[in-house]
Amino acid sequence: MTYDIVFVVASVVAIVAALMVVLSGNPFISSLALIGNLIALATFYLLLQSDFLAAAQVIVYAGAVMIMFLFVTAYLGGRADEPTRQRPIWQTLAALVAAAGIAAEIVFGVTRESFLHGPVVSDAFGAPQAIAGRFLGRYLLAFEGTSLLLLIAAVGGVVLATRRPAPRGADEPGAFEVERPQRVRSLQSSVMQAETAFEVVRTGARADEKDEA
C-alpha cells in the first residue's frame, strides 16, 4: 500500500516537474523543477531497490549537475531567458505529436504484456558492493572509459570556459574578459624591495642639494 502511494506521488511529481521544465520560460525555474523531477526519480529507484543509485542520483544530479546549471544561469544573467521569438506553430505541434506518439507507443507496448514484478531479491540487490563487483568484473571497460570520459570532460570544460574571446570590435556587445594588466611577480617584487629598503626618503631635494638651488 505504502509502496503504491509513494509510486503515485512520485510519478505525479516527476511528470509535473518535467512539464514545468519544458514549459517554463525561465531557466532558473526550469532547473529547479528538474530537481523535483530528479528527486522523484530517486524515489523510483528506491522503490526498485536500487539504493545506491538513488543516492548517487541525488548526489550527482541534484548536488552537482543542477548547481552547474544554476551557476551558468546566474553567469548569463538576463540573457539566459528564453529568446522571445517563437518557433512556427507547426513545429510545436509536430513536436507534440512526435513526443506523444513515442510515449504512447512505449506505454502501450509495455502495459499490454504483463511484466509483473521481478523476482524477489535480497537487500543486497541495490547495494554498492554489488555494483562494484559488476563494474570491476564484466564492465571493467565501462569503468575505465568513464574515468577517461571524466578526464576529457574536465579538460574540455576548462578549455571551453577559459578560451579567450576573439578580439572584438568596439561596438560589439558582451565580451567578458576584462583586460587587466598582468604583472610579473618577480620583477615587481624586486623593484618593491629596492624602493623600500632604505632609511630615509629620497624624494625631493636633500638638505645639501637645496643650497645649490
Binding site: V178, R183, M192, V200, T203
Partner: protein, 420 residues
C-alpha cells in the same frame, strides 16, 4: 588566463609621483563597455568605519572600479568655529576625530596659543603629553578592535575594548568625562591631576604591554591574519608622501616622519621614544606600526609619570586665562575679568597660524585665521583620515572585495574627521 596568481601577493602598482595615473587618484573608473555590477558599500555598512560610502564596481569578486563618497557625517565644524568664541571652540575640537579627541584639542588650543603667544607652564605640557599618549593608545585600540572584528576575529575586539575602558577610566578620573574632555585649556590644562592618578596610571602601564603581547599573539602570529594583511594595500614611500599620507600610514612605508620627533612640541623633546616604522608599506605593516606604537606610547606615559615636574598647570595671563575660582569671591577685579572672558571672550591678534600635532592618525593640523575679534575668522583642519582615504581606490582596485575591506580598515579612517 595566465597562471600568475591574480592579484598576486605583494604586488601593487608602483605609484611614485611621476607614476601616479593622470586624473583624480581617488576615483578609478571601471573599464568601459562592460556590463559589470555596481555595489554600494556604505554608508550603512558594518565595515566602512562609520559612514564611508564606496561605490564599487565588481567583476566577480574583484574590484575593478571604485569611487568614494564622503560627507555623510559632515558636521559643519568649521562654520561653527567661526560662530563661537575661542573658548567655546575647545569643546568642538574633540568631536572632529572622536578617537584621537585629545590631539584635536591640542591642535586647536596650540594654534590659539601660538597666535596669542601664550606660554604654557611646564607641568601642563607634561600632562598634555601624557594624555595625548593615552589618547593614542585609545585610538589604536579601537582601530585594532574594529579591524579585527571586520576580519571576524571577535575576541580581539573585546579584549581591546576592555583595555580601552581602562584608558578611559584614566581620562574620566582626570578630566571628568570618558571621551570629549575639553581638558586642555588655553594656557594649560583645566585641572591638575587628581589624587591617585599616578598609581592608577602606573598600574595601567604595567598591564598594558602584556595585553599588547596578547594581541600580537592572537593576530600577528596567525597565518590567516597575515594572509589577509600581507601585501594588501601596499604603497611606496614616494607615493605615500605624494598622496599626503601621514602618521602610521606613512611610517609603515619606512618613512620615519613623526611630528613628535621632527617638529617637537609639548614635552616630547625630553622624552626618549622610538619612532616605529614599517618596511613594505602594506596593511600588515600599518597594523604592526600601530600596535607597536602602543608599546612606545606606554613608554612615553611612564616617562611622563617619572619626569612630571611640579608647578602650576595654568598660565597666569589674565588677559586670556580665567582667574582661579577662589579669587572670584575675593577679588572684584577677577570677577570682572571672569565676566568679560566668559561673555565676550578674549580678542586674538590678527594673523594666521597652522599648528600641526601628531594625532593617532597622523598630522592633524589646525589652521586658524584671526581678524582680531573674539571668534576665529576661519578655522580649517587638516584631517589625516580625509587625506588617507583618498588612496582607497588606488589600493583596492584589481583586488578582491575582501581586500578592499582590509584596505579601508588598515587606513584607519575616522569619518568624523574626514567629513568634519
Amino acid at each position: 588566463m595566465s597562471t600568475v596568481e591574480r592579484p598576486p601577493a605583494a604586488i601593487q602598482p608602483l605609484f611614485t609621483p611621476a607614476r601616479i595615473p593622470p586624473g583624480a587618484p581617488s576615483k578609478i573608473d571601471p573599464p568601459p563597455g562592460e556590463d559589470l555590477i555596481t555595489v554600494n558599500f556604505g554608508p550603512v555598512h558594518p565595515s566602512t568605519h562609520g559612514v564611508l560610502r564606496l561605490i564599487v564596481t565588481i567583476d566577480g569578486e574583484v574590484v575593478v572600479g571604485l569611487d568614494a563618497d564622503i560627507g555623510y557625517v559632515h558636521t559643519g565644524f568649521e562654520k561653527n568655529f567661526e560662530q563661537k568664541t575661542y573658548w567655546k571652540g575647545i569643546t568642538y575640537a574633540p568631536r572632529i576625530d572622536y578617537l584621537a579627541f585629545f590631539a584635536n584639542e591640542l591642535a586647536f588650543v596650540g594654534a590659539v596659543e601660538k597666535l596669542i603667544g601664550l606660554e604654557v607652564p611646564e607641568r601642563a605640557q607634561w600632562i598634555r603629553t601624557l594624555f595625548s599618549e593615552l589618547n593614542r593608545i585609545h585610538s589604536h585600540l579601537v582601530y585594532l578592535g574594529t579591524s579585527a572584528v571586520e576580519m571576524g576575529a571577535m575576541s580581539v575586539f573585546f579584549y581591546c575594548l576592555r583595555e580601552r575602558d581602562y584608558v578611559l577610566d584614566l581620562f574620566e578620573m582626570a578630566t571628568g568625562v570618558r571621551m570629549h574632555d575639553r581638558y586642555p585649556q588655553f594656557g594649560g590644562v583645566a585641572e591638575d591631576l587628581p589624587k591617585g592618578f599616578y598609581e592608577e596610571c602606573r598600574k595601567f602601564c604595567r598591564m598594558m604591554p602584556r595585553r599588547i603581547d596578547e594581541y600580537l599573539d592572537l593576530l600577528a602570529g596567525n597565518p590567516v591574519w597575515e594572509s589577509r594583511y600581507r601585501g594588501i594595500g601596499t604603497i611606496t614611500p614616494e607615493a605615500a608622501i605624494a598622496m599626503g599620507l601621514s602618521g602610521p600610514n606613512l611610517r609603515a612605508t619606512g618613512v620615519p616622519y613623526d611630528l613628535r620627533r621632527t617638529d617637537p612640541y609639548l614635552a616630547y623633546p625630553e622624552i626618549d621614544f622610538d619612532v616605529v616604522v614599517g618596511e613594505r608599506g602594506d596593511a600588515y605593516d600599518r597594523f604592526l606600526c600601530r600596535t607597536k606604537e602602543m608599546y612606545e606610547s606606554v613608554r612615553i606615559v611612564e616617562q611622563c609619570l617619572d619626569k612630571m615636574p611640579s608647578g602650576p598647570v595654568m598660565a597666569t595671563d589674565r588677559k586670556y586665562v580665567l582667574p582661579p575660582r577662589a579669587e572670584l569671591h575675593t577679588s572684584m577685579e577677577s570677577l570682572i575679568h571672569h565676566f568679560k572672558l566668559v561673555t565676550e571672550g578674549f580678542r586674538v591678534p590678527p594673523g594666521q597660524v597652522y599648528y600641526p600635532v601628531e594625532s593617532a592618525r597622523g598630522e592633524f593640523g589646525c589652521y586658524l585665521v584671526s581678524d582680531g575679534g573674539p571668534k576665529p575668522w576661519r578655522a580649517h583642519f587638516r584631517a589625516p583620515s580625509f587625506v588617507s582615504l583618498q588612496v582607497t581606490a588606488m589600493m583596492s582596485v584589481n583586488r578582491y572585495v575582501g581586500d578592499m575591506i582590509v584596505v579601508v580598515g588598515s587606513l584607519d579612517g575616522v569619518m568624523g574627521e574626514a567629513d568634519r
